[in-house]
């Protein structure tokens, strides 16, 4: 078994080498396809990172009427914490709210002055609610609107960041859609070209194949070199495409680093490079195997 695999891998490397420019063409177009695969994957990763950052800043604030006691509010807080969609509930007391307000508006003398004039704390105590998933905020908002304490609630602040998230989600969806279409187009083109290359390999080896059949070589032994050849195309193209993506990111790093949370797109890429490469190898090998299988179905008589 090892003998067979060893011999066929050797044979497929020789095929790859002897095909020369045909191999170069097959690998090039596959590199293009895998570059698109990798780029789309990277954009997806970056977009997820951005989205997660924005999502962290989303929350629902529930402001309670002035006459509601602190114990009552904390009781409500405990109830809310038991809901599984809600990841955290933070209590902001009237004093703390004032503190935050003063800090945020320290540069605005007019506001500070008018605050002095009021004399007392005009702010309301609130609960800041965060959900696990941005799509769950609607449900949480609905829950609060119908909650047992709804009469105690003065105001619900919801939807501030929601629009941004919806827009971002829309953009990501569009990018993924366009990316998948591009991957599809390039995938089909690469299958056609690899198919053609392997067809020619089969043609140049028709004598060997005929002899193999006549002397009773197993079907697998006849087929495996072509399968391996397809895998070789996929793997080599994956590495080249990864290098190109690495170079591209190195170049755009200066302009685009602000996008990711860590502030360095290149190191963000390095952290995910293995996933990108792995995905490319899987897709590349799949395209290679698929094309040689089609070529063998059509041209290799067993």
């Amino acid at each position: 078994m090892f003998l067979i695999i060893g011999r066929t891998i050797r044979a497929s490397f020789i095929n790859f080498w002897r095909n020369g420019w045909l191999s170069v063409a097959a690998v090039s177009v596959l590199v293009l396809a895998l570059f698109v695969v990798g780029s789309v994957f990277m954009v997806g990763l970056v977009a997820n990172d951005v989205l997660q950052n924005v999502e962290k800043k989303v929350s629902i604030s529930v402001y309670f009427k002035t006459d509601i006691s602190e114990e009552k509010i904390l009781e409500n807080k405990r109830d809310l914490e038991n809901i599984k969609e809600i990841s955290s509930v933070e209590y902001i007391s009237k004093d703390k709210a004032l503190e935050i307000f003063k800090r945020d508006n320290a540069d605005e003398p007019v506001i500070m002055e008018s605050l002095e004039e009021i004399g007392e704390n005009p702010l309301l105590a609130s609960l800041v609610i965060k959900a696990d998933n941005p799509s769950q905020y609607q449900a949480v908002a609905d829950y609060i609107a119908n909650a047992s304490f709804k009469d105690d609630v003065g105001r619900v602040n919801y939807g501030k960041n929601r629009e941004i998230i919806d827009r971002l989600n829309g953009i990501i969806f569009q990018i993924k859609k366009v990316g998948l279409i591009l991957v599809g187009i390039f995938g089909i083109v690469s299958i056609l070209i690899i198919f053609n290359t392997i067809r020619i390999t089969i043609y140049t080896h028709r004598q060997e194949i005929e002899v193999m059949r006549l002397v009773g070589s197993s079907n697998m032994f006849i087929r495996l070199p072509f399968i391996f050849e397809g895998i070789i195309y996929g793997v080599i193209a994956s590495f080249i495409a990864s290098l190109i993506i690495l170079g591209t990111i190195k170049i755009i790093n200066i302009y685009a680093s602000a996008v990711v949370s860590s502030g360095n797109l290149f190191s963000f890429y390095l952290a995910n490079a293995l996933y990108v490469l792995g995905l490319q190898i899987i897709i590349g090998s799949f395209l290679g195997i698929a094309s040689s299988w089609i070529a063998m179905r059509k041209y290799l008589k067993i």
């Binding site: 003998l3 002899v211 006549l214 009773g216 197993s218 079907n219």
Partner: protein, 256 residues
Amino acid sequence: MRRENKTEIEDNIEIENEIEEMMPENNSPLIKFDHVSKFFKDDRIILDNINLEIKAGEFVSIVGPSGAGKSTLLKMVYVEEMPSEGSVYFDGVSLDMISRRKLPYHRRRIGTIFQDFKLLPQKTTFENVAYALEVCGLSKEEILQDVPQILDIVGLGDKMEKFPHELSGGEQQKVVLARALIHKPLVIAADEPTGNLDSANSLEIVKLLLEINKLGTTVILVSHDREIVNKANRRVILLDRGKIICDDAKGKYKIC
């Protein structure tokens, strides 16, 4: 052909014993064509209701004009062609019962020889024969042991490192014969083996085939070379337009 060499004789005996072990025990035919017909898509009839039995150890010459269906008949033995109607039985088993996965194992029981040799030009004599073992997954040790032995039998022990283009036609055909014998087949299927050879070389090949037959291997020889068929002086089947015209136990070419 002189073969006084002692080791060669020993080798021959060894192979003879091995072949005997592989022989079917009963006296039923090794190959049986049962109402076999073959049509092409344009309704051309290649073979027309062939009934034929070949026993183990026989030497059968199939003769007839071009297009009579001789090669098609032979191809059915090693399942390069399938009958349109009827069945071919090998060792009691219908060949269309053999799955595609098992087919290679059937082909190892049959050694094939062709007019155009089908040697790989970029491989030496040794490598060409070794290739048949290599692609069937045998180890290097087995190859190094078996290949020189078989090349000695066909008399090419001293030309192992020569490439096909450095050999004469007769020598090339002997390499093919060695390759055909390497799996110790039950049957040698020879399709016009002397078509590209002069009469001296042709005779030598036939002598080798007769010798192989003497050791117990069934030989089916397709040919329209009158001289070599007469030389064999064995069972002759005359085929014309897909039909068996006559079948003589001790025949001459075109006697009927």
